[in-house]
Symmetry: C2
Subunit: 330 residues, 2 copies
């Protein structure tokens, strides 16, 4: 068997982040849930945008951000996600390709426009996200490049995209294809709201041994297991997945694989500017270590280093030379 | 006579900056003139964008940036400039209005799209700009709100927009209107290439005493006067304009008004990240002092403070609290 063409292929939302600093009071005035990701329709997106201060646009999407980090580290990556035939779609496609990531998903013609995520960043660096999924939510199974899925060491899936029906069906087909080719499947739970709606699906995927690497934060761990105690949650979930990675914000992260358990503190950061993408980039660092055959502790530390870079500036895509940052340590 | 509604009304390019870090070698490979602003057509814009790394989009436009700074300082402002009926146009309009600047120029329907400026930022913070003017270059005189021009203390014009014929005609009409209403006209020369093409026009405006406040950098001063010696350039131009402000990058700036001459050093900056907008924000600070009746030295210092803020981060719009930065000193 020849070496697969890609280290990681991911399926995720193809969206552009619209980011602006915000006063804490604005979060309340607009009835947003501080720190959460909320799906919004076109009307709500319009009214939130009107209330938002001057913004900047930076490509986003959880799995796409993870690939941006992986590619910056030197991994070979491909992305599957759907934009519309418009300027924000061009921006997304440019940025992902400029990051040396293969991206060939056909553009969707007509309404809705390319998805966007309106992100209000408060002075403490916390981000409150409002996502209008746009064309992303209609990603059809026919848009999948199944040969590329077979030709990737890891298929990485974003829980956010499990919510709409078409991408969910596409992801099910991709999982089947990857497992049929003897590849690994990595999955991020993304947000507690996704688990509220689709926790049964995720449990079923886990029970069917279709997920090899599972990423969650401590809130999502509790939501999925129903265990409010962190250790109880780990004990409930870890035996069911070959590798479980749980991030705990500024308290670091823990990984469990079989009998092995390792943990890492958060990397020191001079100033937390914007936490958008912290989990996404943690996954970049971890998966990079994993595909390079590093031990679990090293994978976890690489995750922490990549996450620390992305929270030190605006935007969920890496800006500093991640390869150099990690090269200093390993 | 009642107090005018606006402190400053400006006519300028309505464009979005597309900014990316770049290696020095890329500037050469793409045959760009380092540090310059070059007008490009749609094809060249496309090929440069393809060669550009992952980017971020931040609203720009020289005069619009100046207003963003003025408004952040507390001045009442209005903007005139033309976008197309597309997503980048929505981004521009949102950002300028979210900055509390009145903006009512009708959107232009059809091609070309909203203008953009592809900005390659090298490690030293120098920016190399490639502007596709798009809808901006077709700003018609009919789009002017002449009542608003009459109702503004200062009409501020961007030399960049003197190049295309329609906006040039619109600006001539605006100057006539402003002067007829007894208002001041401020003008920035923008770039040496504009002077190469339209220096005679600018000389004629100056000779006709239509320009009350003239902004230039040292290169533009030399281009306009034909004097390569800085002092000779000042001596040639200063007697012809009531207020002349010349910026000299990291060497500071000088202002001359009648018999008075003052100068200022550049404000210290921890790290020059991106010089885009330095001149624009210098004009913000200077004009803010001017409309608030400050002495020449104070105006110049306010300009230096605003310029220092904008070069310490990516993008040509202010991010820190300019009012607080200036309030600390005055």
């Amino acid at each position: 068997m020849t070496e697969p063409r890609y280290d990681v292929i991911a399926i995720g939302n193809a969206i552009v982040d619209v980011m602006s600093p915000a006063e804490d009071s604005l979060i309340d005035e607009l009835d947003m849930v501080r720190g959460a990701m909320t799906l919004v329709d076109a009307d709500r997106a319009t009214s939130l945008y009107e209330a938002m201060g001057p913004a900047r646009e930076i490509s986003g999407g959880s799995a796409a951000n993870t690939l941006a980090g992986l590619s910056a580290l030197g991994a070979q990556c491909a992305f599957i996600g759907q934009v519309a035939n418009d300027q924000l779609g061009e921006v997304f496609a440019h940025d992902i390709r400029a990051g040396a990531i293969d991206y060939d998903t056909p553009v969707r013609i007509g309404d809705p426009p390319t998805g966007r995520c309106l992100i209000f960043v408060t002075a403490d660096g916390q981000r409150t996200m409002n996502t209008f999924l746009g064309a992303s939510q209609f990603l059809p199974a026919s848009a999948l490049d199944l040969d590329a899925v077979r030709d990737s060491k890891i298929l990485y899936l974003e829980g956010y995209l499990w919510d709409p029906a078409e991408p969910r069906a596409a992801m099910r087909q991709a999982i089947e294809t990857a497992k049929g080719a003897g590849r690994k499947v990595a999955f991020t739970l993304s947000d507690a709201f996704v688990i509220d709606r689709h926790g049964d699906d995720f449990q079923a995927l886990i029970d069917a041994q279709l997920i090899d690497i599972l990423f969650a934060n401590h809130v999502e761990l509790a939501a999925l297991t129903g265990e409010t105690d962190f250790e109880a949650g780990l004990a409930a979930l870890a035996p069911k997945v070959p590798v479980l990675v749980v991030t705990c914000g500024e308290r670091g992260a823990v990984a469990l694989a079989g009998e092995e358990r390792v943990s890492v503190s958060a990397e020191p950061v001079e100033r937390v500017v914007d936490t958008t993408g912290a989990g996404d980039l943690f996954a970049s660092g971890f998966l990079f270590g994993h595909v390079r055959g590093k031990d679990l502790q090293t994978c976890l530390t690489m995750g922490a280093i990549a996450a620390a870079e992305v929270i030190s500036h605006y935007g969920a895509r890496p800006e500093a030379d991640l390869k150099a940052l990690i090269g200093k340590r390993f």
